[in-house]
Subunit: 443 residues, 2 copies
């Protein structure tokens, strides 16, 4: 057999891409950092830009990650719900529908429910659990479909619907703004209300009406009102998805893969793709996370895995707050943490650093602009670009690629490919397959 | 609901892309211009290159525009005929076939008609109208299909065929050269002559034979011959298309859109996509057009529209004449006209400037080379490129995109997107949907 190739450490700095910012002297957070270690790896590699989906499309974190992991969003994306469920440790069965849910405060008038607070005054986790329990007991069944609400952090929950012949191609009932009415869940496919999306809408709308009645008289809410707190008297639903087995990452790319992440969604994505998800103490999914600890854990995992996905959320958290200085500081700490990665690392591994999307601090939300990519490795054609940034990457040797090009590029940098056409493989792409069987010559 | 986002002014300079020209000291027309105003907008934005379709494909003006407006030519393009018809104010019904037509002069010999002049000596509009009237009276019906010729400017006309089960997948009978015979219209699909393309060919070829007989004895032509003028004694047909409703631009992208253009084809494209087409005095579709008037009209339209498509044809007209100096002068006048666009414009709008294709003056026809793109706006990641040209755009942050990427990119620059995956929408892409219904809670 051919050699197995190099290992890969893929660092995804959430929301990395940015624009120049006045408080950083016109530089982007990444540009403003000294890059003591990133510069060292830049010397040994090349840079470029990635459009996670395609130019101008701002992805959510799930669609961007799936695309970077080499999945085709237009054909394979089952909606966000199942990833949220997996991140919360909820195991779904094939065909079950999952929504992200919020307990919210609505004001009932004239036969409609106007949203007063989308988070019911950030109702605490325990109260959410008690309200979910009441709803599961009193509204757990609509026709022959089962509705189950799983409480998550604070006002958040996941709604799982089990029934036959349901489609997740429906709109949110969450208006995504206060002062707007709770919406009807509408089908996005043509269908009668007997099947598919039409049937799911009929069930969801009935369930919601029932929930509002039950929550109106719930003891928990009466108690909150007595204490001058906003009641959780409606459930806002968004981001529906259907549980569908996805081809495991290891099967698609031939890597034994592990994930180091703090945030639940990222762990959920990794689980859905069959990666080993490792808990690292101090990994919070926030700017205060133990970056060094996560880097050390990743390096250790490369002992018995050949692909490690390290996710850092701090960059995106700062971006959503419009905090360019905080983002730059987080990136400086990340650069420092690469002290852990010694110069011998590249003799048997590839280091790739990128983002899942751009979240410019000036915009404080995801944009459709590309993210910079750095790939360092002994088989990478290094370019003449000196630094790693959104603007310098324009001139890099990697050029401008799409999210789905990343995995083939990393496989190639890790010398794990075979020439297309020269060897048939049972997989989607051209890596060296693991599971070959000797010809049995008999006794 | 979320804020509606910024307005967009998209300026399409027809045939903008060019190569260096000796008479401009080796510069392209765009490079040779001072860019007093374009430079100002470049400061506030980024540049890149667009392949209207894909690298190396020279588009016609209709396919390039449709692609830039985000339509998939391979799946949605109904052929050119219907756009020409719409541009001439002809309303087609679903399924009707339209050809571009020319009255031409042919010499009949040995049972064939050799083309002597493809424009019948640029026969005037009134004569074309009289000949069309004769043909509509005498050859208006072939079997159960109706043939109707609508006169347009000078020798030009549009032929509309109404019948059942017709396909537009047929060849031109126009040989596109003098000294060549008028051709048989041939099917491009396999079909019997009872249906589809085969049937259309049988009908068109019968009609053409009849027309030639009728035109041979037409009084108008006898009169022209007496005056030493070339007769319009045949009808050359080209660019067939079938009328098919296209998804309105507003529905696809969520914009209320208007068009400012002089040329009929561009107005036709805008009408077919449901844009408001505004007549501007002095807009001629030629180099002498009132550029300032068109810019002022566009700015005014942004008061009650959120997308304005401004088309300027002068660049392409100069290119087709090989007139690089004239093209540069037209671009200088365009840059001057941007004096009308004050610096406050970008606080609530995005300005994009590009071409629909390259028409290098040295080649005097469309080429398959990319066109430069400038996008200026407060949410655009600005790059370090100083000028706006075919060559400088290579180093811009927008990179090299395809025509169909432009609308997502503009939506993103106008902050009108939602993250892919986080909110289901009934449309093709991820903009904020308009038509939501409050959940009815009953009495």
């Amino acid at each position: 057999m051919a050699e197995r190739g190099l290992g890969v450490l893929l660092v995804i700095l959430d929301g990395l891409g940015d624009s120049g910012s006045a408080e950083l002297g016109g530089k982007t957070p990444l540009e403003s950092v000294e890059q003591r270690n990133l510069g060292r790896f830049k010397e040994a590699g090349a840079v470029g830009l990635i459009d996670p989906i395609s130019p101008g499309i701002p992805p959510g974190s799930d669609t961007s990650h799936l695309s970077l992991f080499g999945y085709d969003i237009s054909a394979e994306y089952p909606g966000r719900g199942p990833f949220e469920a997996a991140g919360n440790g909820i195991e779904l069965r094939e065909g079950e529908i999952a929504f992200r849910a919020n307990f919210a405060t609505v004001e009932l008038r004239g036969g409609r429910a106007d949203v007063v607070d989308r988070r019911a005054g950030r109702i605490p986790t325990e109260a959410t659990a008690r309200l979910a329990k009441v709803l599961n007991e009193e509204c757990g069944q609509v026709g022959d479909a089962r509705f189950r609400l799983y409480p998550a952090l604070e006002h958040r929950a996941v709604l799982v619907i089990s029934g036959t012949g349901l489609s997740h191609q429906v709109t949110d009932n969450d208006p995504h703004a206060t002062g707007m009415p709770l919406l009807e869940c509408l089908p996005l496919e043509e269908a009668s209300d007997k099947e598919g999306a039409g049937r799911l809408c009929r069930l969801v709308n009935s369930w919601e009406r029932e929930c509002i009645k039950v929550l109106e008289r719930a003891e928990e809410n009466a108690d909150r009102k007595r204490r001058g707190l906003l009641p959780g008297n409606a459930v806002l639903l968004r981001s529906p998805g259907v549980m569908r087995a996805m081809q495991p990452f290891s099967e698609r790319w031939g890597f034994k893969a592990a994930c180091v992440a703090g945030g639940k969604l990222y762990k959920g994505i990794a689980k859905m793709l069959g990666m080993d998800v490792v808990e690292v103490p101090g990994a919070t999914g926030m700017p205060d996370t133990d970056i060094g600890g996560k880097v050390r854990a990743s390096l250790k995992l490369l002992g018995d895995h050949d692909f490690v996905y390290l996710h850092l959320k701090g960059t995106d958290v700062c971006s959503h707050k419009g905090d360019a200085r905080g983002k730059a500081e987080f990136l400086r700490r990340f650069d420092d943490s690469l002290d852990e990665v010694d110069s011998d690392f590249l003799s048997s591994n590839v280091l790739a650093v990128t983002g899942d999307h751009s979240t410019p601090c000036g915009r404080a939300m995801h944009s459709g602009e590309p993210v910079p990519l750095l790939v360092a490795g002994k088989h990478v054609r290094s370019d003449n670009v000196r630094t790693f940034s959104e603007l310098s990457a324009t001139g890099g040797n990697i050029g401008r690629i799409r999210g789905r090009d990343l995995m083939p590029l990393l496989l190639d940098a890790a010398k794990r490919t075979v020439e297309l056409g020269t060897r048939p493989t049972p997989r989607r792409l051209n890596f060296i397959p693991r599971d070959l069987v000797p010809l049995d010559l008999g006794p």
